[in-house]
């Protein structure tokens, strides 16, 4: 029995060049993170602190949320509470309707993906323009993100150029964007130069910033003591989205709250270093109230988070700050791509969050882990990601999703391990397999030979060597 992940991964792996590029791209980000880690003697102190601050905050979250609401309200913000995606989408729509909004410019927010906000608004006739370059490319191509921080990294420059041509962006902005970037005489319609394409997107998005009536952002952090919403970007798109329109709507998962600025110092130093291997994002913006003559709405969204807190084995996923480091380091993610997973967040954290959201739909992703534990070692807030995946696997049988063949094998092994004589004779005869023709050992039933050669059994088992030689030597 194959999981949906392994089936999708097999397709992804058919294009070797793409797999190598994908793998190297994310490994280079991991390497940059390492370089920054070695620069700081206090690296492990920071991770330790981040882990403890998050543990403290999520186990006092009700109090901190009340404090945050009080301060944000005092600052002139309007705070809303949403228990699930449906209520959240309704609140957003209501605010937009009250302000007669026709177009929203939006900076990247995984929470809005989680709640399928864009579809909901499109159906109501409201245009939503993603303003992060990667997100905008995907939106124009009608694709979902394949990574939470670098959502469109799997798309080639040629595909971007083709998409921009089809959508008329090159026709409208190509000549202007080519100025000073493309050599004179080069046809903008033929170019797939990343600087040129980024410039064309810049002008295209400028038009949208100028005309939208509302800017929506997510929140990297909420600060209870001050009521600040902190948004970190490299492009400045969250700031553009909130500097021109007068209406600002923030969507924040309740677990994004931290107590104060002292804690913020720790997280600011960790987020970009882990996520993209930069010492900081270009912009770390603190929103403490509406702009002059404007309104700022903050929607605090639960959508299952408060019940995760009660889950003894998995509550620590609430510490996650969505930096993406676990994906960048994961050997399975790097070689199978974001679309091989059934949940919209891929990689180690996505495997766990998907299980918490809907185990029956997302247990397929549990096979996307080699238990190398690298994710545990890079996570800035020390979520025990692979240990949690291991725990889910132990419970698969109870959920009736255990692999039938592996179950049969485990039963067989149990018999062998419980009977020493049977074990010894099995070992003795194992080398006979070496002499078997490949057509017998290479059959599909034998998972070991799928994708690699059957291992050669040693003529003498360790058991035998130990009995005959080593034991006497060691005495």
């Amino acid at each position: 029995m194959s999981t949906k992940h392994s089936i999708a991964a097999e397709k992804f792996l058919q294009n070797g060049e793409r797999v190598t590029r994908h793998d190297q791209t994310f490994w280079s980000v991991r390497t940059k993170r390492d370089t920054l880690a070695y620069e700081l003697d206090e690296w492990e102190n920071l991770r330790e602190a981040a882990d403890k601050i998050k543990k403290h905050t999520v186990t006092h979250l009700a109090d901190y949320l009340e404090q945050f609401e009080q301060n944000a309200t005092r600052n002139g913000g309007i705070v809303h509470w949403a228990k699930d995606a449906e209520e959240y989408n309704q609140i957003v729509l209501k605010i937009l309707r009250q302000h007669e909004v026709k177009k929203v410019v939006k900076s990247k927010s995984m929470l809005t993906e989680e709640c399928h906000l864009n579809d909901h608004l499109f159906k109501q006739g409201i245009d939503v323009v993603e303003t992060d370059l990667g997100e905008r490319i995907l939106q124009l191509m009608e694709l979902a993100p394949s990574h939470i921080v670098m959502p469109a990294i799997h798309i080639t420059r040629e595909q971007v150029a083709e998409c921009f041509r089809q959508k008329g962006i090159i026709a409208e902005h190509g000549t202007h964007a080519a100025e000073g970037i493309l050599p004179t005489g080069e046809d903008p319609n033929q170019s797939s130069d990343p600087t040129f394409l980024t410039r064309a997107a810049r002008y295209h998005l400028r038009d949208n910033f100028m005309t939208a009536e509302c800017g929506m952002t997510g929140a990297n952090f909420g600060i209870a003591e001050t009521g600040d919403i902190v948004v970190c970007t490299n492009e400045g798109n969250a700031d553009m989205s909130t500097s021109v329109p007068k209406l600002h709507i923030v969507s924040m998962g309740i677990e994004k709250l931290i107590p104060n600025y002292e804690a913020m110092g720790v997280f600011q130093r960790l987020l970009a270093r882990h996520g993209t291997g930069q010492a900081t994002t270009v912009y770390t913006s603190h929103f403490r109230g509406p702009r002059p003559g404007g309104e700022m709405h903050i929607i605090l969204v639960d959508n299952g988070r408060s019940s995760i807190l009660g889950n003894e084995e998995h509550w620590q996923t609430l510490k996650c700050m969505r930096c993406g480091a676990c994906m960048n380091t994961c050997p399975v993610y790097r070689r199978t791509g974001g679309y091989s997973y059934t949940y919209f967040i891929p990689g180690p954290i996505g495997i766990n969050l998907g299980m918490l959201k809907n185990a029956d739909e997302n247990y397929h992703n549990l096979s996307a882990c080699s238990l190398c534990c690298s994710c545990d070692n890079v996570c800035p807030v020390k979520v025990d990601l692979s240990t949690q995946i291991y725990r889910w696997r132990q419970n698969l049988d109870g959920m009736h999703h255990a692999d039938a063949m592996k179950k049969a094998m485990s039963k067989g092994m149990k018999v062998i391990f419980e009977h020493p004589n049977l074990y010894t004779s099995s070992l003795k005869f194992a080398p006979l397999v070496n002499a078997m023709p490949k057509c017998l050992t290479g059959i599909k039933l034998n998972g070991w030979t799928y994708g690699h050669e059957m291992p050669v059994f040693a003529k003498k088992s360790f058991h035998e060597i130990w009995k005959k030689q080593l034991r006497s030597e060691s005495v």
């Binding site: 992060d132 021109v244 309740i254 110092g265 913006s285």
Partner: protein
């Protein structure tokens, strides 16, 4: 379910589901500092942050320095006294009027050596000037440079505008095949004017 019900529902659910509580940790561990934070800030700014930097002497003419760095600028926006500007973000009716700004001149209050961040509290009616300008000149005093973000967060101040941002160099993106491009949505170039 109405608004109050939802809020109570979420808070009750959180309180009910807490199993074990944890204390806020002590954060007094040693943090990276620089012997010469000014030198380190300059280095970070012109390398990883991707900005330019000019050291300004007390008797330098700031308007001449702006023209030196951005000789082709036609529209300059600023509300800083003494800066010759065509647009003033305090007196504009709408942020859109800043759209064609070539150079925005703004003031930073705290700068951080480890990552090139400069704290810019909103001190103008239209903060769009900080993002919409093609290029930014950020004035910051060498007296206000700290080593790391912990020190920066101890220093930053808010005013009634209720907004402030750390900016480290020009707007960047690597969303197309990981090629680093300056000037995604906000300023394409940043020059730090380091004053006394």
């Amino acid at each position: 379910m109405n608004f109050m019900d939802t809020k109570e529902h979420i808070l009750n659910s959180l309180r009910k589901n807490v199993r074990e509580t944890y204390d806020m940790p002590e954060l007094s561990f040693k943090k990276r500092t620089f012997e010469d934070p000014v030198k380190a800030f300059i280095e970070t700014t012109i390398t990883t942050a991707g900005a330019k930097l000019m050291e300004i002497k007390p008797d330098d003419d700031i308007n001449q320095k702006i023209r030196e760095v951005y000789p082709d600028a036609r529209i300059i926006a600023s509300n800083i006294p003494g800066v010759e500007a065509n647009l003033n973000p305090d007196t504009l009716a709408e942020a859109q009027e800043l759209e064609k700004t070539d150079v925005g001149v703004i003031k930073g209050e705290v700068a951080c050596a480890e990552n090139g961040c400069v704290w810019i509290p909103q001190t103008m009616k239209e903060k769009a000037i900080c993002f919409i300008s093609e290029c930014l000149v950020i004035l910051v005093s060498r007296k206000n440079i700290v080593s790391n973000m912990h020190e920066a967060y101890e220093r930053i101040q808010f005013n009634d505008y209720g907004f402030g941002t750390f900016i480290s160099g020009p707007s960047k993106t690597a969303d197309i095949e990981q090629s680093l491009v300056y000037g995604a949505q906000a300023a394409r170039g940043v020059t730090i004017f380091l004053t006394d």
